[in-house]
């Protein structure tokens, strides 16, 4: 739509709003959209048009509120939620989202809105969590605790509730009770820096320095995660709001969320559309390449990485991933050249060092592979992947004692970093094989059992090697 047509359309919307206003009900909130990204203007205009066409619709008011909320236009979003809630007295969504908007700026109003959402839907856990948070922030500890207890009953998967209850018990000096609650937190969410940090503090107070040290290490690993920022349980309505962000960066974030959750089809589609708007972005081409690679569209992924490198020739990440792709398709020499270029650009880029090591390991050049891994470990001595790779390499080279020691370190590091069960199982399996070769059958069986307990399907032929009498 051209600017002139957009202006005319805007005038028409305004006229309709005035006419509708004359028929009763509040005016549709005015939002100045000058300067906004066209896609954002279009999203707001679309939601507003839909509302103007059906001003008696709670859903249209609510949707308009959500679109405004998504773009951080809080005041008009709040007014829209309020009207949506007035028009539909049963829908819990609008008072809840209104409450989320006001949670910190106007806690007393937010509390009233949370209560209204719960009156409409007593089993809506996010509203109960909102109520508990607001009460806690206002210093009403007893009422907050009751709300957290209710949330724990209502949503047994909640991480936020045991975290809050643990904090409350810690305040009261109930250290054992606090520890139980924090253990529940980290069991449900192993990446919870807060859960591990509180667990470390409680363990220290209980006179258990070893547990405190382990929990501190886990907290530190979790604290490096970008997801550290929120301790709140996921709120599906707020996620739906975020999904309405129409700005380029908002859509990019949505693509990242999709990729992180394994939905590479959606991620690829969003990146492809974004590249239509920002073809100059090396990051977008790189991320698009990652999605394509995950989907097995190797040729397209290669092209995407190469375009990323045209835009940003020093991108170690793009060089490393392109090299990994080439190595997997047997183009070793090209891959090796790229790894070298990447290392020259950034000698501390660990994914490059690990990829280069893997390539040389596959080619049987153990010495060079080991050199890369030791470079990586010099930069990050506790890197679980580098330790695992080195252990595997040493085992293959027949240096079994060193391999066992290195893999044990890898296991500790992976545990500290909160590694996925699959990675832990893989290290146990490698250790089982090393111990078997060293003739330490008991230790080998123990590691094998742990690998299986972590979900690994151990090949029967390998298990047979460790059966009694062999």
């Amino acid at each position: 739509m051209t600017e002139a047509r957009a202006l005319r359309a805007g005038s028409l919307v305004a006229l309709l709003a005035v006419l509708a206003g004359a028929c009763g009900g509040p005016e549709i909130p005015e939002v100045g959209t000058d300067g906004m990204e066209p896609a954002v203007r279009e999203a707001i205009r679309g939601a507003r048009d839909a509302l103007a066409a059906d001003r008696g619709s709670a859903a249209a008011w609510g949707r308009f509120g959500m679109v405004l909320h998504a773009h951080r236009l809080g005041a008009p979003a709040g007014a829209s939620y309020a009207e949506a809630a007035r028009l539909d007295e049963d829908d819990h969504r609008w008072p809840h989202l209104h409450g989320r908007l006001l949670e910190t700026a106007e806690p007393a109003r937010a509390l009233g809105l949370a209560d209204e959402a719960l009156r409409r839907n007593p089993r809506f856990a996010p509203a109960l969590a909102l109520r508990a948070r607001v009460l806690e922030g206002m210093g009403d500890d007893d009422a907050a605790e009751a709300a957290w207890e209710a949330l724990q009953d209502l949503a047994p998967e909640s991480v936020e509730a045991p975290l809050a209850l643990g904090r409350r018990r810690l305040q009261r000096g109930d250290l054992a009770g606090a520890r139980t609650a924090f253990e529940r937190v980290v069991e449900r969410l192993p990446s919870s820096a807060a859960g591990w940090s509180f667990l470390a503090q409680v363990s220290r107070r209980l006179g258990d320095p070893e547990a405190a040290a382990q929990a501190t290490a886990r907290a530190r690993a979790a604290a490096r995660s970008p997801s550290l920022g929120s301790t709140a349980d996921p709120d599906p309505l707020l996620i739906a709001v975020e999904d309405l962000r129409a700005d380029s960066r908002g859509r990019e974030a949505r693509a990242r969320r999709a990729a992180a959750s394994g939905d590479h089809d959606s991620a690829e589609a969003i990146y492809r559309r974004l590249l239509g708007e920002r073809p100059e972005s090396a990051d977008l081409h790189y991320n698009h390449g990652n999605s394509l690679a995950r989907l097995g569209r190797t040729a397209e992924a290669e092209a995407a990485y190469r375009t990323a490198l045209e835009r940003d020739p020093d991108s170690s990440a793009a060089m490393a991933n392109l090299a990994n792709l080439l190595a997997r398709s047997g183009r070793d020499r090209e891959a090796d050249d790229l790894y070298r270029r990447s290392i020259a650009a950034d000698p501390s880029h660990l994914p490059t060092l690990l990829g280069a090591s893997s390539l040389h390991f596959q080619r049987g050049d153990f010495r060079q592979a080991e050199r890369y891994l030791r470079d990586a470990l010099e930069r990050d001595p506790g890197h679980p992947g580098a330790l695992q790779g080195l252990g595997q390499l040493l085992a293959t080279a027949g240096r079994l004692g060193e391999a066992a020691e290195t893999l044990s370190r890898a296991l500790d590091a992976a545990r500290e970093a909160g590694a996925a069960p699959g990675q832990l199982a893989g290290i146990h399996f490698l250790l089982a094989d090393v111990e078997r070769q060293r003739g330490r059958t008991t230790q080998a069986r123990t590691h094998l059992a742990q690998a299986e307990a972590l979900g690994m399907n151990v090949p029967p032929a390998f298990r047979a090697l460790l059966e009694p009498g062999r």
Binding site: V31, G32, T33, D34, G35, M36, E37, P38, A39, V40, A70, H71, R72, L73, G74, A75, P76, T104, A105, P107, E136, G137, M138, G139, L163, A164, R167, L170, Q171, S192, A193, A194, G195, W196, S197, F198, A200, Q201, R204, R205, A212, A213, T216, A219, R220, A223, P226, L228, G229, S230, T231, R245, D247, S248, R249, G250
Partner: protein, 490 residues
């Protein structure tokens, strides 16, 4: 982005005439130095100190070269600089041993290795590239959110004597954990006689670098409960001060934060760690609407309890505000004035209408007795606006004592803790200028002594861990105590 984060202020007695002079870091151009020409609050600009090409951020005062007078370390987005106090000829840039040229923020002088030379901790904010653009949710170009840009390891410079410094971040362990660091304070938080460093990190877990001796530090904030808020959330840490918030005779930590976050009080529990006491102290809702930076904990009304003043100013446009509106209007906020009482802080803005009514993009803040009347005054800097001096005109009938804790060479002992026994109870205060945000305040330990209360004892725990008792002084005076001397001087 640097333009919305700075700049700082230092109050220090450059000319050793017994009053506090004023140094204002400028974002661009030469910094400005004003000499205190009291009586009363009267300053005259006597020097402009050329910049180093950096966009100026913070300043720390300390006797870097051990010659008995106070020098300055200036941080910035670009090369940092050590400005040596050369007496008559003013402040002169020292030889550059390779100071950091990224984005550094606050700095604190402190003799962490007890060798008699003041070492230097410098926080670094982020690995920022001015060509990197960030955008608001509406797609409009905006200042970056800190989480858009990675942090950097902080720097620790060991003073090898004579104003020569060597960066030892890697050997000490401090370089191991990059973060977006802003404020820093040096104090013996673990009570083991060795100074530690507490660092406020923006949107990340704070760091408490615990001094292990032998030049090694380990990070223990997550273990000791000073990394995250009491809710378990990392907050946008900006400025720091330490004072006895809970009234138990131990210095606690007050951290200023972004809007929607409390100004967080980490209450020290000796031998255990810290607990977030913000809500119990009444700080839960006060300050939630504003973004705090510089902070001073001091007994402004001389009633025996520390009060707090926090310079506020947004770093992001309010939601829905147009980016075309003037910078000032969108970001300016009023300072928060908190009156301390037994275990509680209350909003005291109404009692200081001039300060609470001044809207600015507040950043640096330093407290010190500028007019020599015994109560602390304030200097607050603002982004995109002039700094202002606020004279303390509190109606108080209390008495006061300012204790300058010095080393035998004449320099202040940064990191000393002073205890004053009074008939109204034990009071404790830091003798340490390196607090707040990008700023440096009066190095002396200031005490308010409630009307009718008598001073009964004076004890100093020096930064090397030793403790020394001095005769109880009379109130309403500045006293100088020197480590190992055993006597006090006016």
């Amino acid at each position: 982005m640097p333009e919305i984060m700075g700049s700082g202020v230092a109050l220090f007695d450059r000319d050793a005439d017994g009053d506090l002079d004023l140094y204002l870091v400028q974002g661009e151009g030469a910094d400005r130095f004003f000499e205190n020409r009291g009586p009363g609050i009267r300053f005259v600009e006597t020097a402009r100190v050329p910049g180093t090409g950096a966009y100026g951020m913070g300043v720390a005062a300390g006797d870097a070269d051990g010659d008995g007078d106070l020098d300055l370390f200036r941080t910035g987005f670009g090369p940092d600089a050590l400005l040596l106090n050369t007496g008559e000829s003013g402040l002169v840039a020292a030889e550059d041993p390779g100071w950091d040229d990224s984005w550094s923020a606050s700095a604190a002088f402190c003799d962490y290795d007890a060798d008699g030379h003041l070492d230097l901790f410098v926080t670094r904010y982020m690995d920022y590239d001015p060509d990197f653009s960030c955008f608001a949710a509406t797609g409009e170009q905006d200042y970056c959110n800190p989480t858009d840009v990675p942090g950097l390891p902080d720097l620790l410079y060991r003073n090898t004597g004579g104003g020569k410094f060597v960066e030892v971040g890697r050997e000490s362990g401090i370089a191991a954990l990059p973060a977006r660091s802003l404020g820093v304070v040096c104090h013996d938080f673990t009570g083991d006689g060795r100074p530690d460093f507490y660092v406020a990190n923006d949107t990340e877990a704070n760091h408490l670098w615990v001094n292990q001796g032998g030049g090694a530090f380990t990070e223990e904030a997550l273990l000791l409960g000073a990394a995250l808020s009491g809710f378990g959330r990392p907050e946008a840490g900006m400025g720091i001060d330490i004072g006895d918030l809970s009234g138990d005779g131990v210095l606690d930590i007050l951290l200023t934060h972004f809007a929607d976050e409390t100004n967080t009080a980490y209450i020290a529990e000796p031998g255990i760690g810290f607990v977030d006491g913000s809500i119990d102290l009444g700080l839960g809702t006060l300050g939630l609407a504003t973004t705090g930076f510089g902070v001073a904990l001091s007994d402004f009304d001389l009633d025996g309890f520390p009060d707090a003043v926090i310079a506020n100013g947004r770093v992001a446009r309010p939601a829905g505000e147009s980016p075309r509106a003037p910078f000032f209007e969108q970001y300016a906020e009023s300072a928060l004035i908190l009156r301390g009482g037994p275990g509680r802080f209350d909003d005291a803005g109404a009692a200081s209408p001039e300060l609470s009514g001044w809207k600015a993009v507040g950043r640096g803040l330093a407290a010190g007795d500028l007019d020599g009347d015994g109560d602390p005054d304030l200097v607050i800097t603002a982004a995109e606006g002039p700094a202002r001096i606020f004279e303390n005109v509190s109606n108080h009938d209390g008495n006061w004592l300012l204790v300058a804790a010095g080393l035998p060479g004449g320099a202040p002992d940064h990191g000393a803790t002073v205890r004053l026994g009074t008939s109204a109870g034990m009071r404790v205060a830091r003798a340490n200028p390196g607090v707040s945000y990008l700023s440096s305040g009066d190095p002396g330990a200031h005490f308010g002594v409630p009307a009718g209360a008598a001073i009964e004892s004076l004890t100093v725990r020096w930064s090397d861990g030793s403790e020394e008792a001095f005769p109880a002084p009379a109130p309403n005076r500045v006293v100088v105590v020197v480590r190992g001397a055993g006597t006090i001087h006016d």
